[in-house]
Symmetry: C2
Subunit: 191 residues, 2 copies
Amino acid sequence: MTAELSPTSYALLGLLAFDASTSESGLTGYELKQRADRTLRFYWVSPAMSQIYTELDRLDGRGLVVSTDVSEGKRPSRHFSITPEGLACLRAWLTDPDESLFPTLKHPVALRLLMGALASPEDVDRMLSQYLERLAERKAELEAVREMLADRREVRFPARVADWGLSYYESERDIVERLREQIAAEPPDAT
Amino acid sequence: MTAELSPTSYALLGLLAFDASTSESGLTGYELKQRADRTLRFYWVSPAMSQIYTELDRLDGRGLVVSTDVSEGKRPSRHFSITPEGLACLRAWLTDPDESLFPTLKHPVALRLLMGALASPEDVDRMLSQYLERLAERKAELEAVREMLADRREVRFPARVADWGLSYYESERDIVERLREQIAAEPPDAT
DNA sequence: TGTAGCATGTAAGCCGTTACATGATTGA
DNA sequence: TCAATCATGTAACGGCTTACATGCTACA
């Protein structure tokens, strides 16, 4: 039970836990990747396929998931389901106060803006406007996800987290728009 | 010049570029770590000492920085300065439109809230309030950094990025506070 | 006198990515 | 029939962390 898994492992375990509460079939590695791309990606990462399989093997080895081979008529595939031990392990992690770590932000735009004095005002402005475009794209993607979550009670937590993400994108947009105006208003560098 | 460095390398190069514009002495690996802890940490990462030395060796090998050994009377140390090639390389990276990538957010609190249905409402609330505390601490740290940046023109970009960070922390606080209220208002799970 | 801070590194190992490799099934 | 999608893996490698190892210097 004291498994010391990576957050990504727990994230996958969470997807399987959610699946278990709605169906009984289990998920393939491929399906897990798709779900991760839909939700996890916005708040964590979207692991590569190869990592998902590695992670699943690890979870399997610890008895936190079980895999059943399906090959009747169809092409062979492994369907994974969470075990009672896996669920217990996930719950323990969820409620462990020590695990509540601070978010890690890797913000290439902020990093580069930090050195804005080395670039021309035009380059800086282009960078920010490009970021705003991508931000809008990302937001549209998350909005589509949010709509799929409708108002079903089983998904009220995912829906809230999606709302969180949307608010974050809006705030980021407002901040960057203000920043652009400030930079445009400022007298150019005296070099 | 087409060096294919990691963003962390560029970040260190940026710190050295900034140092070069204000003094001439160069910085030790140790000093770079301190500066990274002060600023970079909020928007990128704070690399471990060992990584800083590794990164510096790499930059040195490519001629993007030069190191001078200082050992007169004092304990021996290596002082690093950015070279003209290093500065050109940094500028090229800064203005390269392809490099403008989207931020990566690893948000353990959002990740866990996604599975909030598996925990008790009390555990969820505790997690969020703990997050708010840490958020306030982090914000206070960044405020201290912001004050050090005063209104000097040489640091106007770092100051703006610090303001960005502060706005982000405020927005995050508002969102999480609203979230807590919503969860508290909601009827408990019917399990 | 001793401890905190300055200063530099090596080694092991994890997490995660990209590239590579394979092959079945569905549908246009 | 051919391309897209489903499906599963291995190998190599990069980035970053932790742990380990060393030793000087300022100052209380």
